[in-house]
């Protein structure tokens, strides 16, 4: 490696890392949090068997899982202005990622809820608890514990999916790298560099996941 290349890499590193911290991470965290709430609600209306809402939930999951994330981003950012709805790039990205994540995580949550041994609901009713009390205090905590590894997996995935937001003008890490490359033209080095930074983020998250799983334990010995 020659000195010029090394200099480019050293100088570009903070320039790429900064949008990572300013856009990639916040976008991921925000979108995931909102998506998780959507997912829990969507899973709960199915668990509760509320006919109309359940249908809406299934349609929502069907459409969102059946269309590409990139296309969803384009529909919202480039398509909606045609009918007069203008949303800024970053909020649009958060929205789309949240709604997208919600559909996938909803299936994870639904499976996790169904995996909680059924008799506990009956026991809850017999001691006088209401449906919501049992769900909130008994079912959801157990379901979230079961779903934790899968949900965390999806979080780690989302970090990388945010690179798609470059296509709707969010100046996150990937787009920034493209711009730097336009100036210096060292695609191999620069794209490997940003890949390494994504890898750094994912590795930190993976470490957090195992800490989280240890802390959650499993209600006593396993």
């Amino acid at each position: 490696m020659n000195e010029r290349l090394l200099n480019i890499l050293i100088q570009s590193f903070p320039k790429i890392l900064l949008p990572g911290l300013m856009y990639t991470i916040p976008l991921t965290v925000l979108a995931f949090a909102i998506g998780l709430v959507i997912a829990i609600l969507t899973a709960l209306v199915q668990f509760a068997n509320i006919r109309v809402l359940k249908q809406i939930a299934r349609i929502y999951i069907w459409i969102i899982r059946g269309t590409p994330l990139l296309v969803q981003l384009f529909v919202v950012f480039y398509g909606l202005p045609k009918v007069g709805i203008l949303i800024d790039a970053f909020p649009a990205a958060v929205m789309v990622f949240a709604i997208n994540e919600g559909a996938y995580a909803a299936e994870t949550m639904r499976a996790a809820l169904e995996a909680v041994p059924a008799g506990q609901m009956e026991a809850g009713y017999c001691v006088g608890m209401s449906w919501w009390q049992i769900v909130r205090r008994i079912e959801l905590p157990q379901a979230l514990r079961t779903a934790f590894p899968t949900l965390f997996n999806e979080l780690i995935s989302m970090v990388k999916d945010t690179s798609l937001a470059a296509n709707i003008t969010v100046t996150e890490m990937f787009m920034t790298t493209q711009r730097i490359n336009a100036v210096y033209y060292e695609p191999l080095a620069l794209y490997l560099e940003v890949a390494a930074i994504y890898l750094l983020f994912s590795t930190v998250l993976t470490k957090l996941q195992s800490i989280g799983e240890k802390k959650l334990g499993s209600y006593g010995r396993r």
């Binding site: 017999c126 001691v127 006593g220």
Partner: protein, 251 residues
Amino acid sequence: MSMLEVKGIRKSFDGKTQVLNGIDVSVSKGEVIAILGPSGGGKTTLLRCINFLEKADSGSLSLDGKTYDLAKITKKEIAEIRRKTAFVFQNYNLFLNKTALQNVTEGLIVARKMEKAKAEEIGRAALEKVGMLERVDYYPNQLSGGQQQRVAIARALATDPEIIYFDEPTSALDPELTGEVLGVMRRLADEGMTMLVVTHELGFAKNISTRTMFIEGGVVVEEAPSREFFANPRQERTKAFLRAISSKEEE
């Protein structure tokens, strides 16, 4: 004067299988009723309908003098009845994410809005009664089956019920563990708790229950004070059942 009176309870599944064909149950305060019968004969469904874990098609239920139409009963009325009853399940159904003490106090704190300190006091007393005071902070998956079932009984006791329903409480237990649970149930019976117990344990029916019912094909085939029931079974089907189940115990 009976405390609990169930009349003409009927239940079918999917409109085809008639599981309960018009059963009457009458329980006076302090009675311990054993319900025997073959699998699929309706005894578990009967118990579950009486506590509204299943919805009966028709019949009436009277508790403490107030009568309810089972076909038209409202959620509010069900809650009202459940405040006076408790249920112990075959597979315990403890809250897996809560400790033994939390299992017992959960209903008191959340459903009856009791103060935590008071609930814990009641909870500890109940756990002591079933011999589980040393394991208040254990989670269900740290306890043996017999221990879990005793916690489940403590959970039932803590709500101060008028009657406790037991649905095959020892069927899921290894034989060595049934004794500890039956021992607790015997203590409760001696202290005057009103109990309705679906069971396969002939020993319990013979020695602890005050009255025994034999249910098969969705009807009460025979019913008598326990001593007489076992000494002098009248119906052929009862005799056949008792023969079959005693020979199984001898194996």
